[in-house]
């Protein structure tokens, strides 16, 4: 998997069928797509299809129970971020692959300690480009600031990052080249975007980053 869109929402959450979104993703240069709430399938039209679930409860116990139900090994488990203690508990939890919507939380809810923790436990942090495309003014400025800060932590601590269009329609899907351009708005280099697009494949293979033992 070289380029994966980390979240698309097909019909009935969105207005486009799964097949149509997969065809569009292929045209836009993706070789795999994570479908949230769609049907589970291996490969459609030459595009590898992964199934993902989004857990959005603010309660750690609820999340633990939901992971137990969803964690069949094939499903990508994504958790919406919350306050500092919640995020810290989530990063310590087994079975979580991606922490998303960091941009919606308070500035202090993800710091250098959690960045190190995410790197050690190979939990990816998602960069959702939906607000970058669809918001205007101060809300978008806030999102760009958060992502810039996140990329600075990523460069320092090396935790995995994923990039998602979070599209509810084929009109909201963007090409690989478009994602590179949009990510340049918050200081992400082309190589970093390439690595971020390949992160899902690495998470699936279960390979952990090389650790230096001295």
């Amino acid at each position: 998997m070289i380029a994966t869109d980390a979240a698309v929402h097909p019909y009935s959450s969105g207005n486009s069928s799964l097949l149509r979104m997969v065809i569009t993703a292929r045209e836009l240069g993706f070789d795999s797509v994570v479908s949230i709430g769609g049907e589970a399938a291996e490969e459609i039209e030459g595009v590898q299809l992964l199934h993902g679930v989004v857990l959005s409860s603010g309660n750690v116990q609820d999340i633990r129970g939901q992971i137990r139900k969803a964690g069949d090994g094939k499903t990508l488990v994504m958790v919406n971020a919350g306050d500092y203690s919640f995020n810290r508990a989530i990063l310590n939890m087994k079975g979580v692959h991606i922490l998303r919507h960091i941009e919606r939380t308070h500035k202090k809810s993800f710091d250098h300690i959690m960045a190190r923790m995410a790197a050690e436990r190979s939990v990816a942090i998602d960069i959702d480009l939906h607000p970058v495309i669809h918001s205007r003014g101060p809300p978008r400025q806030k999102v760009l600031q958060r992502y810039r800060d996140l990329i600075r932590l990523h460069s320092r601590y090396g935790f995995p990052v994923t990039v998602s269009s979070n599209a509810y329609s084929v009109l909201e899907q963007r090409s690989v080249r478009d994602l590179v351009l949009l990510c340049s708005l918050f200081g992400m280099e082309e190589e970093q975007v390439g690595e971020a697009l390949a992160t899902i494949g690495k998470l699936r293979s279960g390979r952990r980053p090389v650790e230096v033992v001295t």
Partner: protein, 161 residues
């Protein structure tokens, strides 16, 4: 007034844009307003003044936007953030950048699908709806919702089922 000699004119770049969905008829002025708003919102008035963004052509599911040389990347990023033109949801996909409009007009002919859009009636959820079929299997269905029309992006296979 005597025209400026070519060496003293601003160098310009032209960007070819594909409009999705291709059957949506977009007015060039409305497109200009949307692109200009997106550019100004993202990069501010100063850079918008430097870039001198304009939409010079809009037909057959394609548009050509113009800017000054060196600002084409900013224009491409701004185009990505356009999601609505005159209240209609669209996606603007950059196809090519060139120094002349002539080169881009030739590229429009290379992308043949706007000419192959078929309008037809399809049955969806027990109701007959207008639909546009193009590129073989893509079908855009205009479903009549409770309050307003809803646009659904499906494929030929799903309508057959």
């Amino acid at each position: 007034m005597k025209p400026r000699p070519p060496t003293m004119r601003d160098k310009r770049r032209y960007v070819l844009i594909r409009i999705d969905p291709p059957w949506e008829e977009i007015d060039a002025k409305e497109l200009y307003l949307a692109v200009h708003e997106a550019f100004t919102s993202l990069f501010g008035d100063t850079r918008a003044a430097e870039a001198m963004v304009a939409v010079v052509d809009c037909r057959d599911g394609h548009a050509i936007a113009r800017c000054t040389r060196g600002h084409e990347v900013f224009l491409q990023i701004a185009l990505l953030t356009v999601h609505t033109v005159d209240g209609r949801r669209v996606a603007l996909r950059t196809r090519a950048t060139s120094g002349t409009m002539h080169a881009l007009k030739k590229r429009i002919i290379e992308y043949p699908y706007p000419g192959t859009i078929q309008m037809r009636k399809v049955e969806f959820d027990g109701d007959f709806c207008d639909a546009y079929q193009y590129q073989g299997q893509k079908v855009d269905v205009i479903a009549k919702g409770f309050k307003k029309q809803e646009l659904l992006f499906l494929t030929h296979k799903e309508l057959e089922m």
